[in-house]
């Protein structure tokens, strides 16, 4: 399978999402604020979503399950960000 620039971008996105999740988690551990917990959750699902994307790029599988899970994660990410914005600490 050719290793193109799109693969690199997907991989980089996944790593960046993991970094953002780690920062969010550390901030939540320090601050213990509900708003940050939702943001941490959103970044976790964002990371899982990009991770799924990356695995699909490198190990293509056929089936709608992965696509359904990725779409669900997409929805959860947006939902968690919305809750974080609406949450008052």
């Amino acid at each position: 399978m050719p290793f193109g620039p799109d693969n690199i971008i997907v991989l980089l996105s996944s790593l960046l999402a993991l970094l953002l999740f780690t920062i969010a988690l550390l901030t939540y551990i320090r601050e213990r604020r509900r708003k940050l917990l939702f943001v941490t959750g959103a970044f976790l699902f964002y990371f899982l979503m990009t991770f799924l994307d990356a695995t699909e790029e490198f190990f293509p599988k056929n089936g709608d399950t992965i696509e359904f899970i990725a779409s669900s994660f997409n929805f959860i990410v947006l939902l968690l960000f919305s809750i974080a914005i609406l949450t008052k600490d």
Binding site: I23, T27, R30, E31, R33, L36, K88, D89
Partner: protein, 177 residues
């Protein structure tokens, strides 16, 4: 008080970065006011944050490795939070400020300020004094807080986490200490 803290921190940082630095070298720094330098050095020595010894014609300064007591570790942990740190600096300058005054001074929403104040109250760093319907806050050990503010050094991780937390505080206008 804030200016004094800044100058003392600057002097302390210089001595920590350049162990054995002498008075003349400190005087040459453009950001150090010569007139008050000896007074601040004397203060830092008295508080056992630095020590000096005479090396021929120079008096050389070194930072003292301080073994932190349990409550000092607790104060330092709270100083890592920007909100708490700003509250403590403000209370050092104006003892007895209330939630609203502190909220205005540090640029945080009253609810967020209250959250930080509760952390400081639980850590027994400050005390709440009820005056009718208003609550005023005072530091339990202002001298110790001032000393620890000199020792405190913001790490890259602290500032990274502060920036991240700040992104989610819409009403906050960042104030640098």
């Amino acid at each position: 008080m804030e200016l004094e803290l800044k100058v003392r921190r600057r002097i302390y940082d210089l001595i920590r970065t350049f162990p054995g630095i002498h008075l003349r070298e400190l005087e040459r720094r453009p950001d150090i006011v010569i007139g008050s330098l000896q007074y601040h050095l004397h203060y830092l020595e008295k508080k056992r944050l630095i020590y000096s010894f005479k090396d021929e014609e120079f008096v050389r300064y070194f930072t003292r490795d301080r073994i932190l007591e349990e409550n000092e570790k607790n104060i330092l942990a709270l100083l890592r939070r920007t909100g708490c740190r700003h509250i403590l600096i403000n209370l050092l300058q104006n003892e007895g400020m209330n939630n609203g005054e502190l909220s205005n001074a540090i640029g945080l929403a009253p609810s967020t300020t209250s959250w930080h104040l509760n952390k400081l109250l639980r850590g027994q760093v400050i005390t709440k004094i009820k005056n009718g319907r208003e609550s005023h806050f005072v530091l339990n050990e202002p001298e110790r807080v001032a000393e620890l503010l000199i020792c405190y050094k913001e790490s890259f991780l602290d500032s990274l986490l502060d920036n991240f937390a700040e992104m989610w505080d819409l009403k906050k206008a960042r104030k640098k200490d």
